[in-house]
């Protein structure tokens, strides 16, 4: 199992049903792990299992040196005795209690005399001073979320769990709350687990991310690494990488270290990945950011790096960024998608049917085990 150094959170869950689970990850103190996956991928179930609200068939959950679940050792600690702060997706505030009442409910571990002061400190920390007497129904979504966070922190938890905390608020509030969470976590000395289906959110907030699909953790690592170097075609699809193709490993060289992959009559130079044997059928992927458009007016040195010619298939303007799909010449339909600044697209006259050339950055190309790549290949 992944190790969090004894002080963080370590999770391993496995069962065939009723909800299939095969999850293993760790989250050290002071770090934020994002559990990312589509709806129904088991993210919330994993969070509930950490909190003790779901009991998996087999598994082990350790946090801050304490064992909360160990099915082999017949250990199951009730949610009340796990030091967990959980922010529910719809906040689950107590509707009959005031803001202060909600927070004080979670302060049962403190002497009665200290609870009011502590609640006031926590509410100040989440910028809710002045709203102490209000009922949850009279608060905005963002304010309700802050109450939920204050309540979750009230127990001085050993881990903070956030279940899609930004899904119920509007875009402006979401951005504001994300900034606040980023600030707040700087002051927390505990692991934080964030469940989200939003890759952008995970990329902004998380130190590490774990991709879940059908209850299984497929890849864990720093967000940039997971999103640019997926371990499998499935992960590539889940992190929305569209440029997935089939190829054959042509060979490796050690000086300079690189691997060559044959693809549609090209021999691509790619980042050295010697684990794949020469002659092996593989899939490879390149994020859109690794595709460089050749400028018509001013050729550059980078154009020697895996040049590929094609015809522009579609150009979609999305504000400042334009998404371009290039049909590779002689490929029978293989398309490379990449973003360019809209002004660059305009300056280069990019339009459907126009010929264009791109370079595929060797360092950005990731080789994966072969698997039917689907529509992108």
């Amino acid at each position: 199992m992944a190790d969090a150094g004894g002080e963080g959170l370590e999770v391993r869950l496995a069962q065939a049903g009723p909800i299939p689970l095969g999850v293993s990850f760790a989250c050290p103190p002071e770090s934020l792990l994002a559990l990312v996956g589509p709806s129904g991928s088991g993210k919330t179930t994993v969070l509930r299992a950490i909190a003790g609200l779901y009991r998996p068939v087999t598994g082990r959950v350790r946090c801050a040196g304490a064992t909360w679940l160990d099915t082999q050792g017949h250990v199951f600690v009730a949610p009340q005795r796990r030091s967990v702060g959980l922010v529910f997706q719809d906040y689950a505030l107590f509707p009959h209690l005031s803001v202060t009442g909600n927070v004080q409910t979670a302060l049962g571990h403190l002497p009665r005399a200290r609870r009011a002061r502590r609640a006031s400190e926590l509410l100040e920390r989440v910028n809710l001073s002045g709203l102490e007497r209000r009922r949850p129904a009279t608060l905005s979504g963002g304010q309700q979320q802050r109450v939920a966070i204050a309540r979750a922190l009230a127990r001085d938890p050993a881990v903070l769990l956030l279940d899609e905390p930004f899904s119920a608020v509007d875009q402006v509030t979401r951005r504001k709350l994300r900034r606040e969470l980023a600030q707040l976590r700087g002051s927390l000395r505990i692991p934080v687990v964030l469940v989200t289906h939003d890759l952008e959110e995970a990329g902004m907030l998380a130190d590490r991310m774990c991709i879940l699909h059908h209850g299984r953790s497929l890849q864990e690592g720093p967000p940039h690494e997971v999103m640019s170097r997926p371990r499998s075609v499935q992960v590539a699809r889940l992190v929305d990488l569209q440029n997935v193709f089939e190829g054959v490993v042509a060979g490796h060289q050690s000086d300079p270290p690189l691997t060559r992959v044959r693809w549609l009559g090209h021999v691509l130079e790619v980042r050295h990945q010697p684990a794949f044997a020469a002659g092996a059928a593989v899939c490879w992927v390149i994020p859109g950011a690794g595709v460089i458009l050749h400028r018509r007016d001013r050729p550059s040195r980078g154009e020697r790096e895996n040049p590929v010619a094609g015809r522009v298939d579609s150009v979609v303007v999305l504000g400042d960024t334009t998404s371009v799909a290039l049909q590779v010449d002689g490929s029978g339909g293989a398309r490379i998608s990449f973003p360019v600044p809209t002004h660059v697209a305009q300056r280069n006259g990019l339009a459907a049917g126009v010929s264009a050339k791109v370079s595929l950055r060797a360092e950005a190309i990731q080789i994966m085990d072969w698997e039917a790549p689907g529509e992108g290949g």
Partner: protein, 222 residues
């Protein structure tokens, strides 16, 4: 006006409501939040007194109260008393007959509490007992109160079951509804009329208060 009968009816109604308060809460929570084998059967059994003729229920209860029957023997062994034609028997019969009036409103009230609100209470460190007292009951109280009011009112007006298992013993089993029947049989229209008016007024006030309570609850949470 038979004040002894009125006092007995009030005592029976209060005791029935008191007994059904914990029984109703426990059963309602079980039915609201647990899925188990035989749940449908239990719900059906609890609802049967609502549709069964009171005489049928009374007949079976009377059979169970027979001195040779196990429930009566157990009661005799515990208290030395009898269930037939006694206040204790009347109370037991009343509790059984009122189960649906107590359980169904409470069940709806507990079903209205979101599961994650209870889970949030557990994750806030509240024990199951504290969660019941601090979160569940304050949220479910309109339903619990409705159940108690309905139980009380229904017991005040219960006739068939009371007549079958209690008979008509002054100060022991003669409730207001039995007294009305008794006075009517004796052509004492004035007494029957006064007591009927008291029950009518009481029943109307009760049903009205339940509606008011319901409207207030909807206003607060809707």
């Amino acid at each position: 006006m038979d004040f002894d009968a009125l006092a007995l009816s009030l005592r029976l109604a209060a005791c029935t409501a008191l007994v059904l308060l914990p029984v109703g809460i426990a059963t309602a929570r079980l039915l609201a939040w647990s899925r188990f084998r035989g749940r449908g059967l239990l719900e059906a059994a609890l609802t049967v007194p609502l549709v069964l003729p009171p005489t049928v229920l009374g007949y079976y209860l009377l059979s169970g109260f027979d001195a040779a029957a196990p429930p009566a023997r157990l009661w005799h062994a515990l208290t030395g008393g009898s269930l037939s034609f006694s206040f204790a028997g009347l109370l037991l019969a009343s509790v059984i007959a009122n189960l649906p009036f107590a359980v169904l409103p409470m069940q709806r009230a507990f079903e209205g509490i979101a599961r994650n609100v209870r889970e949030a209470a557990w994750c806030s460190g509240l024990s199951a007992w504290r969660t019941l007292l601090a979160i569940e009951l304050p949220l479910a109280w309109p339903g619990v109160l409705s159940a108690m009011v309905l139980t009380f009112a229904h017991t005040m007006g219960e006739f068939g079951v009371v007549l079958m298992v209690g008979g008509n013993i002054p100060e022991e089993t003669r409730t207001l509804s039995i007294a009305i029947y008794d006075r009517t049989q004796a052509f004492d229209d004035r007494a029957a009329g006064i007591m009927s008016a008291v029950l009518l007024g009481f029943s109307f006030a009760v049903v009205w208060s339940v509606y008011l309570l319901d409207a207030r609850t909807r206003g607060r949470h809707g």
